[in-house]
Amino acid sequence: MKKALFVAMAMTLGSSLAAPFVYPASWTTNKPSEVQTGGTLRTVNLQDFKTLNPFVSSESPNLPDSLTAGSFLTQDPVTDEFIPYMAEKYTQSADKRTFTFTIRKGMKWSDGKPITADDWITSYTIHSDKNVGSNIYDYMSINNQPIKVTKVDADTVRVVFPKADVTALEWVSGILYPEPTHVFMPVYKSKGADGIKNMWTISTDPKDIVTSGSFMLDRYQRGERAILKKNPYFGEWNKDSAGKPLPYLDGVQINIVADANAQLTQFLAGNIDVYSPGDRDKLAQVKAAMDAKKINGVLIPNASARASSDFVVFNLDDSATYKTKLFSNPKFRQAFSMIVNRDAMVDLTLGGLGAPTYTGVYPVYKDWVASGVDKYKFNPAGAIKLLNELGFTKKGPDGVLVDKNGNKLEFTLITNAENTRRQGFAKIIQDEAKKIGMKVNTSFIAFNQMTTMLDAKDNFGRRNFDAILIGLTGGGKVFPVSGPSVIECSGLGEGGNLHMFNQSNKCRFPFETQTINLYWKGRAEFNLAARKAIANQMQKIEAEQQPYVQLAAQTVHFAWTARTQGELPRAAVNSLNASTLYGPRILDLTWIKR
């Protein structure tokens, strides 16, 4: 009784001193008046969480992200605008490099301690320490020039970028989260990086885990589930549009399941509330169960395309082997693109739920995908014509095209064994290629092994593959083209970069230099239309040169039980705004209907 009174007093006190962040009414379909508080949201994750430590976490999704409130800014899921969140306000310098954030007052950690500027500095300091091995260490600099984060005073933090950058606000909102100084700093000071690495493991007592977000850890049952409970201090500075403290939920249960089939089972059994059917089979199961009234819920099929790509990349090494020379010829890659039957891929592999792709910009960025990039779409006759030009005019006795030197048109296409979708794509490529006399062998290996192949060199200094079918994921909304790690052709050390077709650290082809130059131009271009024009240019080059032969993209589907409320407005329901764990909704605004 006493405690409750104290909490209530603290709340009024807090609210009188500082303005809470008010969640715009547009972020949910529900009216604040309908909302019921309490209840538990049950969701599912496909693997065991490995750590609670924000500095060493490298998985996705992970628990630290679920437990953090965010950072200075947040991106409005409906308008895509950046709005102050943990900052009350911010200023931007004229050269667009320096940002100064004034911290919102009254924010508290889950142990009741105030959130201060030091907490950002702590986070920045530790993430920037090489020895900690943070997953975002490399984000702390742009093109090898560090981003600087400094404390101006107790309520003010300054962030300085090396140069003007359109993605700066994305960085501010999505990368640097505050971490509790009072927990980490003493350890960091006494034991250094090693001390930090040993903190906040899965077996750490939940009481010792301090969070800024709407929830805190209640219990972690390894291999079974994570149970989160409401952070009592979060509601002091987070209110809904009607002024009600957030979150509405009492708790969240994240069940851990081994595979996608088990995930479906849990949803069909009514054991979890949110679910994204991964393919058509699962979609059909959910639909059938809903139609048969086995589950009472909502299904949004084909909500949007996925924020990921699948493509074939050839080995374009500057080695004088017959194959790399052939692959290095754009005509060959164009011919190859013309035997990729993307419609068949969508129809047969994706069950009709997807779309062909021709550029590295994920189709979910509808506004960014350039038009007229499908010049080398499926066209076997065109492919034959180009191959004839390359000297492949006659077929050998085994039906495989040979050139005048007797070289067979044959290569091995590798993809990872775990991914049936990619194997399906490879199969269609193989079968279509066979029809025109191109022999494609397929090989399905472990993902790790496949990524190793990208830079593993043999005794002759050559990379040891012909072609790999792989994909990329991730990226922001501001400039959603392939990033520098994918397109940078020089200035990178050995291995580790994603410039998959050429890892010689030299720009072999003019289009490589052209592309990277365009990219940096776009990063500095603050005008959206101009930036889109640059993206179009980049895609045109890509479509012509076919360094990555894009295949097809799946669509995403969302399902949830009828008791689960508070999803984003339909217009904002897409793969970019949906969380893997909670679906197309903001967890803080989610509530359970009883």
Binding site: R42, Q47, D48, K50, T51, N53, V56, S58, K130, G133, N135, Y137, D138, K197, T201, I202, S203, D218, R219, Q221, R222, G223, E224, R225, I227, Q253, N255, I256, V257, A258, D259, N261, A262, T265, Q266, L268, A269, G270, N271, A289, K294, E418, A446, F447, N448, Q449, T451, T452, D455, A456, G474, G483, S485, L492, G493, E494, G495, G496, N497, L498
Partner: protein, 333 residues
Amino acid sequence: MLSEVSVLPYIFRRILQFIPTFLLATLLAFFIVQLAPGDFLSQLKENPSVRPETVERLRKEFGLDQPIIVQYFYWLKNFVMGNLGQSFQYKRPVNEVLPGPFMNSLILVIIGTVLHFAVSIPVGVYSAVRPYSTADKTFTFLSYIFLGIPSFFFALLVIWGMLKLQQNFGWDMPLGNKTSSKLPTDISWWRSAWDVFIHALAPTIILVLRGISSESRFIRGQLLEVLGQDYVRTARAKGVAENQVVYKHALRTALIPTIAGLGGLLPALIGGAGFIEVVFNWPGLTPLQLTALGNQDIYILQAVTAVATLLYLVGNLLSDVLLSVIDPRIRYH
């Protein structure tokens, strides 16, 4: 006691013999896993923003730049001192990561072992006492069928069946996982133990069905043979009742080969639990091993191999000791 005098050196000698086996097995495992292209850090490549020097730094930090044999001896030294090394994925000592999954697998294996014997012995005995009866023929037929269905697919069928029961009758089925997500957090230990048991039941049954099928038929054959032995005839000639003849005189010797096979049962169940743990979403050793394999988390793999090898050796030792208890001929020789 005479028996203890002769059994102890025997056990000690067995343990001495285990050492080279253990060393060879772990060394072999270490080499094989390192032979595979790539290492734990290869996956970082998927991440567009991890730089090569980061990878190199981590490689050094994990000791992956050392020659394999050096790494092995380093591992061995730590192992002897009770340190299983560091998991790359969990960024925690393997000592902390391993026990949970190990215990979970052990739950399946222990319930499985109990079930294995609790079913196969009575079935085997019944079939041997009434050979070619309808029940015997039914058991035989069922065991043939269970031996024929791939266990992972059988698991899928069972889960599907349970789901249909839950959907159509509203029965709360233990659909995968180790515990129910619906239980409140503050329940008595026996209630949660019961919950775990209920969840373990379906995977365990599928796990041991094949074993039961072959074991029960094996016991049947053994018992039939022992029932034809001279000393069983002696017992009957004494006027011993038939069920006493079966259970007291025949069964004990008939079970000797079964017990001799116990040593292989533990690792076989742990190994066999693999697919079923995956399909039933049971947080055991195999899911741990599979993700470790995918990520080349070598010290986890090494630890799992070491544990499996130890289990194999301990199992063998256990069956040796049990055999000497059940069969005095071994004890005195």
